[in-house]
Structure formats: structure tokens, C-alpha cells
Symmetry: C2
Subunit: 414 residues, 2 copies
């Protein structure tokens, strides 16, 4: 495993974009450009889809200076493009599946790819796992590494995921601003902020971080980890009205009733994505209408929507520097002989927050979901604990020094 492997590298991005996935890309590129084992560094456009079509972009020249790498790190979304393609089972005996892998590995051979870096979420780690199995089966010497990203923070094994910290910072900041905005009037009003997160409530939990910073946080935080109940919800609101007229509530888009129905089900399309995930929208809207009907007061819902994952004008310094570090760490691990693994963060004990960059078998990681821990959710199921806020806080700390041009943040387009 420790012999030196010489050849070219390719890097791709897959799954939903984040504000930090390009920071990880810049880390991979910087690491690969420095690695003596790696010659040409290719970027595949639109993930594995572009790879199959040999839509490559040579990155060595473009990123020969640090300025381009810095600009890439502050550019939101996936600069190489992304895809949502589920790979067939590598052990499949179906002709089209066999043909798929033969084509995939013929491209790998044609470009003398010996290093394959895939930056993505849960579904992308599934791709890494399958390619690793196939490579092993045919005995092709290649190092395949998954580098995680997801704003959802729902990957197991890693302390947190790159991209989550910046999304959490945006959410915590925006919710505090909304609380200020809602506080200006004296009439009773309920404001419901809908936050992303299908199965895991980490992003919604982030709305509460302010509590351990300046004491300002939503009245309630409802996570998808707990069954939602309309009557308990109404009782919570009534209690909050006893304290102040402006009630602010954070809810996860993935809230479900005990019988499995989604809270937003009435106002959603019901369609599913290619991985079979139900497409959700409208949890906030559904609750807005319910509260309006029950209390007759002013009610508003705010869906934070796409800016949660692409608001690169408000990046967590911790998140971006870690995202760069984990990208570079992937290259280092690969050149040292690691393959079929996903890069992870391990939080060190001690007063000062610090995470080591390590790696774990991707087989242990793919297709599992890390939900918000039980001890992070209060007994009333309507908020997170201070312990949760303290776990989350260091991930949003520090402000990335974003470069602007004529009033707008600068982005790089590949």
C-alpha cells in the first residue's frame, strides 16, 4: 500500500452545492499541484456524468497562482458543476451495468488516472464505495477518496461536514436579524422560519446558537428527529405569547407527524428525486396557515431556501479553512496509499476547538444518516439544549475575508 503511485488525478463535485464545496476543491487542487506523484490535475465537469463523457478541464495552469485558489475558495456552489447520478451495482450482471463500469474504467485508463477525488454528500460516498469495489475486482491500481460536503451535517463518522458551518452561520445570523425585525411592532405576531434538512435537524438547530452567544434565539426550534404535534405546537405558542408579542419559531422542512405524514405535505408536489427522497416544500407555509386559523393573529413564514447553501458572502472562517484543509488532506492520504476511504474531521478534546483531518472506510459511511443526538434535544421536543449550541458554536466562528469588486463578492467561473 505504501509504494509510490505516479499518474494523473481527477477531481469532481457531486450532489447539492454548498458555500464551501469549492473551498474543498481548492484544497484538493493545491494539494495535487504540490504532490510529486501527480502530473496533470483534471477537473471533471458535472461529476461522474461529465467523467463518462470525458468533459475534463485541466486545472494546473488556471490555478498556478494563489489568487485563483483564494477566489475559488470564496465562490459558492460547485465550480466544476455537479450531478445526481446513482451508479449501478458493480457486481451487477446486467449488460448495461457491466458496460457502464467498462466505459468508466476505460476513461480512467485513457487519461492515466491514478487519483480520483470525489467531493460530495451521502450519495456521492455511495459512488466512491462502488468504484472502489469495481477497481478492486478488476485489480486496477487507483486511489479513490471521498471528500465529504453537505450543509446537512448528516454524515456519520465525521464530527461535522465541510459546508455545514457556513450554512449554520448564515442561519444563526439571519434568524437573529429576523428576530430584530419582528421585535419592532407591539401587535401579536408569529414568524415561522423554515430551514433545510430533510432527515437531520442540524441546520434547524443552528438557529438557536445565538442563545450561548448573546442570549437571542427563537422561542422554539422543532427538529425532524421528533414527531410533530399540532396541539403541542399551539400550546407552546400560547406560552410564548405570555412573555412577548413577537414569537419567532424555527422549523425543519422535514417535520413529520407521528403517523409519518409530512407537515408540509398538503402544500407540496409529492415528487421524489432520483435517489427516492421525497421532495419537500411548504412546511413553514402549512404551519403559517394553521397558526393563522387557530390564533387569528398576524402570521408569517419565511423559507430561508437556497441562500442557506449558497450565501458565500457570509462564510465561517472555521468552515472554509477546514474545507481547504480536508481537501489537501485527501491528496496527502491518497499519495500515502489510502483508497476507498472518506476524509473526516475528529474533534480534539480540550478548551480550544480543533479538528484533525483523518479518514475512514467509506463502506462504513455511505447510506447512513447522522441525526441530531438525543442529548441535544430538550424533553419538551421544542428546542435544542445548550450542549447542542456549544457543539455547534465553534463551527460558525470567524469571518472569512471575502474579496469584493464594485460592491459584489468576486466569484471564479471555470
Amino acid at each position: 500500500m505504501n509504494k509510490k503511485l505516479y499518474g494523473n488525478a481527477v477531481v469532481g463535485q457531486s450532489g447539492g452545492p454548498t458555500a464551501a464545496i469549492n473551498a474543498t476543491l481548492s484544497g484538493v487542487i493545491a494539494g495535487a499541484l504540490k504532490a510529486e506523484e501527480i502530473d496533470t490535475v483534471y477537473g471533471m465537469r458535472n461529476g461522474i456524468e461529465g467523467f463518462m463523457d470525458e468533459r475534463f478541464i485541466e486545472l494546473n495552469e488556471i490555478f498556478s497562482n494563489d489568487e485563483a485558489l483564494d477566489l475559488l475558495a470564496q465562490t459558492p456552489a460547485a465550480a466544476l458543476g455537479s450531478c445526481r447520478r446513482k451508479l449501478p451495482n458493480p457486481e451487477s450482471k446486467e449488460e448495461k451495468d457491466i458496460a457502464f463500469y467498462e466505459k468508466l474504467f476505460s476513461v480512467i485508463e485513457k487519461y492515466n488516472i491514478r487519483y480520483f477525488f470525489y467531493i460530495g454528500g451521502n450519495d456521492s460516498m455511495d459512488t466512491v464505495a462502488k468504484m472502489t469495489r469495481y477497481a478492486s475486482a478488476i485489480g486496477y491500481d487507483i486511489r479513490i477518496i471521498g471528500v465529504p460536503k453537505t450543509i446537512d451535517n448528516d454524515l456519520v463518522m465525521t464530527d461535522h461536514t465541510p459546508g455545514f458551518g457556513s450554512a449554520a452561520k448564515y442561519i444563526a445570523t439571519t434568524v437573529q436579524e429576523i428576530i430584530r425585525d419582528c421585535a419592532v411592532y407591539t401587535v401579536k405576531a408569529v414568524t415561522i422560519v423554515e430551514i433545510m434538512g430533510r432527515d437531520a435537524g442540524w441546520l434547524t438547530a443552528s438557529a438557536a446558537i445565538g442563545r450561548v452567544v448573546n442570549g437571542i434565539a427563537p422561542d422554539y426550534v422543532y427538529l425532524p428527529e421528533r414527531d410533530f404535534d399540532d396541539e403541542r405546537f399551539f400550546a407552546d405558542i400560547e406560552k410564548a405569547f405570555e412573555k412577548h408579542p413577537n414569537v419567532v419559531i424555527a422549523v425543519s422542512e422535514g417535520l413529520q407527524y407521528a403517523d409519518g405524514r409530512y407537515v408540509g405535505e398538503g402544500t407540496q408536489s409529492g415528487s421524489t428525486d432520483v435517489f427516492g427522497h421525497k421532495y419537500l416544500a411548504g412546511t413553514g407555509k402549512a404551519l403559517e396557515l394553521a397558526v393563522k386559523a387557530r390564533f387569528g393573529c398576524k402570521v408569517r413564514s419565511v423559507e430561508l431556501n437556497l441562500p442557506q447553501r449558497c450565501a458565500a458572502h457570509l462564510l465561517s472562517e472555521t468552515d472554509i479553512s477546514e474545507s481547504i484543509r480536508i481537501g489537501a488532506g485527501a491528496v496527502k492520504a491518497a499519495t500515502e496509499g489510502v483508497s476507498g476511504e472518506m476524509m473526516i474531521f475528529t474533534r480534539k478534546d480540550g478548551a480550544e476547538y480543533y479538528c484533525d483531518v483523518e479518514h475512514k472506510s467509506v463502506l462504513e459511511i455511505a447510506n447512513a444518516t447522522k441525526c441530531v443526538f438525543d442529548e441535544f434535544i430538550n424533553d419538551e421536543c421544542n428546542n435544542v439544549t445548550d450542549e447542542c449550541c456549544k457543539y455547534l458554536l465553534p463551527l460558525i466562528e470567524g469571518e472569512w475575508d471575502t474579496k469584493y469588486e464594485k460592491g459584489l463578492p468576486k466569484h471564479i467561473i471555470l
Copy 2:
């Protein structure tokens, strides 16, 4: 008019909050603290409503240091609270209206108020106009000044309004980030960004500013100043698909068909606010459903919602420094004898952008709406002109140096 008038001052905020209304407040406070004619500086809580109830807060002590003023300038929403109260006609012979003004001016006398600063939008200038008429009728010596704020930029006479620049910067930045986010996939998709602005399209127009900065802007921008037409809209989208698969469109919440129906009417509550303005929501959602039905492709709508007016983490340096300056200018004008006027910005000719702070009779201003100029809208009624972008650009330039504490922007709470 030029005799010195000694006494106390009161300042209030009214109407919808913005990210800059507290910057103007800090300017008024700083100016009033320095003015030898002014002794105590009161803040009225919740605008004229709090004034009637004598809910005052003494500001001299709290803002005796620059740090508190700086913190106020970066705090979103109305730190003193706001209200939406329409004053009765001061010439009314109705008993309750007479009683209202008698009470109002008894409070003014009780606190020896000689300077009354009211920071607000169109509706608030109506308040200033009415109070001025009443003061004049009873011969009470007081200087009443309106200081504009509105993210909508729809006040006449002034080049632009404080608060608009920061909202425009947030919109232009966020739309560019959404464009990056949408560009990652290769499948046909339409993303519709709904932007605030009931009657005037200035905020929606701001989505296009990037065009004169880095060439990146939405495919189309639809303003409420032009009748909306579904078929023309569909034809526009078809044309955009010829160029690229990811179509991004900015629409104003106030879009109307030629027959006067609001585009979002189907999905809205139809209720009106106390000034009789129709409450709108759902223009983006309505168009999302229409495009989905027509094209069958992936469609998404993003309502920028409250963050447009409260995202103080992304302030335009131009806007905030001007907002402070116009607040201080109001105090200067008042001590020099001006009353019944609204402070305005006058843009100077020349290569370098600069606005003078001046004042105009509030009677010419109240209840009029400044719409986007004809020459700022293209002939196809589906975008703004470069000239429009060039007018808007300086208003978003510069980044305010926001202070953070443990990862979150610092706010002051009064």
C-alpha cells in the same frame, strides 16, 4: 426662522424596518448630542404610538460613547420599535381627532420638545406633514423634520432613500449566489426569485446590477411598472433555454396583469394593511406553478422575504455612511430653523459619485410614489437598462465593517 430654539428633542422610527434605519437614528442622536440648542434627547418607543403613551427612553447617557453609536448603526430593524399608525386629519372637526392632537401636543409641551425627528417612509412623511400643519395652526414653536428610510426607494424628490442601498446590495449579491447555485446541473430548470416592492420595482431592478460589474445577472427582470403577460413570459423563457439550461428570473412581488389583477393573487390572502395597501405574497409561487404546467421542467421559486430588509450582516458602506449623514443633517437643518421638511439626497454631477444632504417641503413628498423611470426599463419590458444598473451601482458599493462576537454580528438592544 433663524432664531435659536432651545429645548429637548425626540426621535422616533416608523413603518417597516430596514437595515439602515438605525444608522440614521445614530446620526440623529450623534447630531443632537452635539447641538448646543438641544438638551435631553428622547427616543419614543414604537413611533407616534409610544409618544402618545409617553413611552420615552433617554438616549444621552446610553450613547455618550462612539462604540454604542457604531453598534447601533450596524443593528438591523428599528431599535426604538416602530408602528403603523395613520394620523387623523389635523383640520378634522371630529371630537376624537381634536382630542388626539391636543393629547399629542400636551405631551410635546410637557417634555419641552422643540425638535421632533421622525424616521420613516412614505406613510411617516404623512405624519410629519400633518403634525406640521397642526403646530402651525396652534402657533407652537417646534421644528419637525422627516428623515426618509425605505428599502423600496419609492420616495419622490430624493435621489434615493437610506436603507435602499443595503437592501439592493443584499439582493444583487444573493441573486448572483443563486445563479451560481443554479448553474451546477445540466438539466433544464427555471428559478424564479421573488423580490419585495409593491408599486415600485427598484429592489427587483437591483437584481440586475451584476451585469455592469461582472456580467452576471438574471436572464430577465420583471418590474411592477409594466403589465405582466403570461404568454410573453413563456416566450421569454423559451428564448433563454436556447442559450443555457438554467434560467434565473427576478420578479417583483407587485406584478400585475393589464386588467389589474395581481399575479400572486391566486395564492394570497387578499387582506390589506391599515393604509389600505393590499397584502401580497406568492407572486413567485404562482409563476412557479405556471411555468411548471407549461414547460414540465424543474421549477423553483425563492422568496427573498424579510432578509432583504434586515440582512445587516451585508451592509452597503455607501448606504450606512449616508444614512448616518442624513440623520446628522436633519439635526443641523432643524437647529438652523428648518421645519416641516424631509431630508433628501441630491446626486452631484461628476465622475465620482457623491450625494449632498438637503431638504424639501414634506408636503411635496408625502403620498407620492417614485416608480422606476421609463428610460430604465427595456422595450421588451423584461429587463432594466444598463443606465439603470449604473444609477444603482454606487448605492451598493463598499462594505461596512460589521463587528462580530463569537461568529455572530453584534446588535444593540435598547
